[in-house]
Amino acid sequence: IARGGGDRAGTLESIEELLIGADIGVRTAGAIVEKVGSSGISLNEESVRDTIRNEIISILSGTCQPGVDLLVKPHVIMVVGVNGTGKTTTIAKLAHRYKTAGNQVLLAACDTFRAAAIEQLEIWAGRVGADVVKHKPGADAASVAYDACSAAASRGMDTVIIDTAGRLQTKKNLMDEVAKIGRVTGKVVDGAPHEVLLVLDATTGQNSISQAKAFSEVCGVTGIVMAKLDGTAKGGIVVAIAKELGIPIQFIGTGESIDDLAAFDPETFATALLG
């Protein structure tokens, strides 16, 4: 148990390393540790951990929660992110959630590029009981989005979830495309897309900040889903994202089945991070 001055520095240093090891990032970890270290609290290990935990909870809870307007039908959710983070699987989980809550769900197969992307989405749709609007592979993604929103509107469906192709945020033409997909939905449904969810991979390091910044600038991210938290990566980057960009974390993905989606809880997350 750390007691004296030397131990105090040691305790703070080892907690800083733990935070860095959780992908919080060296700057954010340093800021948190400095704030706690200068707060004059008793520096035994347990109270340091508790104070850090509370600081993390406060950072995560501080992000602006946009009021999600569920009064407009269909409610349109666009899902974006870089390659392989878990977008399509997350959409299946979300669709399952909305179906279970009694909604009619339509999925838009707007990844018209990657091999078997449409087939993958169709299989998930079948499993959760959602409809799919698709075109041929290679078709214009924005027109698929347009058709999907029109179909959902005319059929009186409750929810449209748009699957988009993975794209690295550094590819300007692909980022232009995702912005266009978003704009096009707004032409069919008032205020669409009502949600833009960025799916991040928990194993990704500092690049998640660059991803969050870029996608936010290009198509306005309303919330983040942190997928693959069932691994050993802690996903601490969301603390840095909350601190620097103020984007709220909506859900976490904890596996490959349709039930493996949980609402984000800052307390549970902060405890697991320091665990």
Binding site: V26, N83, A115, L168, D201, T203, G205
Partner: protein
């Protein structure tokens, strides 16, 4: 050419008549920050800076008239040497078919990498086969089939089969009967902490004895790269690594973490989604990229 952090490290050492241990220690703080921001694991960074410190405190730096330059040179060379030798492509076995097994975490880029490797081999005049051993992911077989047609390369698959090990075994048998040069088995993404799924990999290995087991890792992987590499290395054994999605703006510190922990050579990097987007690994380029 060198990053801000290294510039600032240089400044700490330059302009001092005589370099002290404190100057080197302070400069190493900047190196540490640069590496951590590049996603190198903090334990690997600690080891690296300790090694650099030992070299930098050698008589050479302390008596050099350009100690700053020499210090940066030591940092860069130490990093480059850790990256291993460049251009060590997958070697084809003397008695075909060369059996290659590809493994890694979910979404890292394995299926795409299999097709890219096949494209590379076919450009060298080799005939082979891809084996679709991911029996879990929806439309995994369709994905490999579609990519296979684009290479073009034959794809062996069995729909509605729930034994991945058997699929690889039978695919290999088919490849032998056709006297093919190579087979590449694509496996399902899995967590290194999923015992049952890791066992599937060791079962495949025991059944078909791959000449090469490749870890396909996402180039943007953060601190967890160390744990992933350690588990795959100790449980399965890694002969080579492919680092994917390096066409982004991530610094790629995972490369150093994976090298430090597994000792396996990084053979290729993925630089795009197209089948020709596979480059041979260059240690010096990677060192410069990580240092920012």
């Amino acid at each position: 050419e060198i990053s801000e952090k290294l510039e600032s490290a240089l400044k700490r050492i330059k302009g001092h008549g005589k370099i002290s241990e404190k100057n080197v220690t302070d400069a190493l703080k900047d190196v540490r920050l640069a590496l951590l921001e590049a996603d190198v694991n903090y334990k690997v960074v600690k080891q690296f800076t300790d090694d650099v410190k030992t070299k930098a405190l050698g008589k050479e730096v302390l008596t050099s008239i350009t100690p700053g330059q020499l210090f940066v040179k030591i940092v860069y060379e130490e990093l480059r040497d850790l990256m291993g030798e460049g251009a060590k492509e997958v070697a084809l076995a003397p008695n075909p078919p060369t059996v290659i097994m590809v493994a890694g975490l979910q979404g890292s880029g394995k299926t795409t990498a299999c097709a890219k490797l096949a494209r590379r081999f076919s450009q060298k005049g080799k005939k082979g086969m891809l084996i679709a051993a991911d029996i879990y992911r929806p439309a995994a077989v369709d994905q490999l089939e579609t990519l296979g047609k684009a290479v073009p390369v034959e794809v062996y698959y069995e729909r509605d089969e729930d034994d991945a090990v058997g699929i690889v075994e039978r695919g290999l048998k088919a490849a032998k009967s056709k006297a093919l040069d190579y087979v590449i088995a694509d496996t399902a993404g899995r967590l290194h902490v999923d015992e049952k799924m890791m066992e599937e990999l060791t079962d495949i290995r025991e059944r078909v004895h791959p000449h090469e087991t490749i870890l396909v890792a996402d180039g943007m992987t953060g601190q967890d790269a160390v744990t992933i590499a350690k588990e795959f290395s100790s449980t399965l054994g890694i002969d080579g690594v492919i680092l994917t999605k390096m066409d982004g703006d991530e610094r790629g510190g995972a490369a150093l973490s994976i090298r430090a922990v597994s000792g396996a050579p990084i053979r290729y990097i993925g630089v795009g989604e197209k089948l020709d987007a596979l480059e041979v690994f260059h240690p010096e380029r990677m060192a410069s990229r990580i240092l920012g």
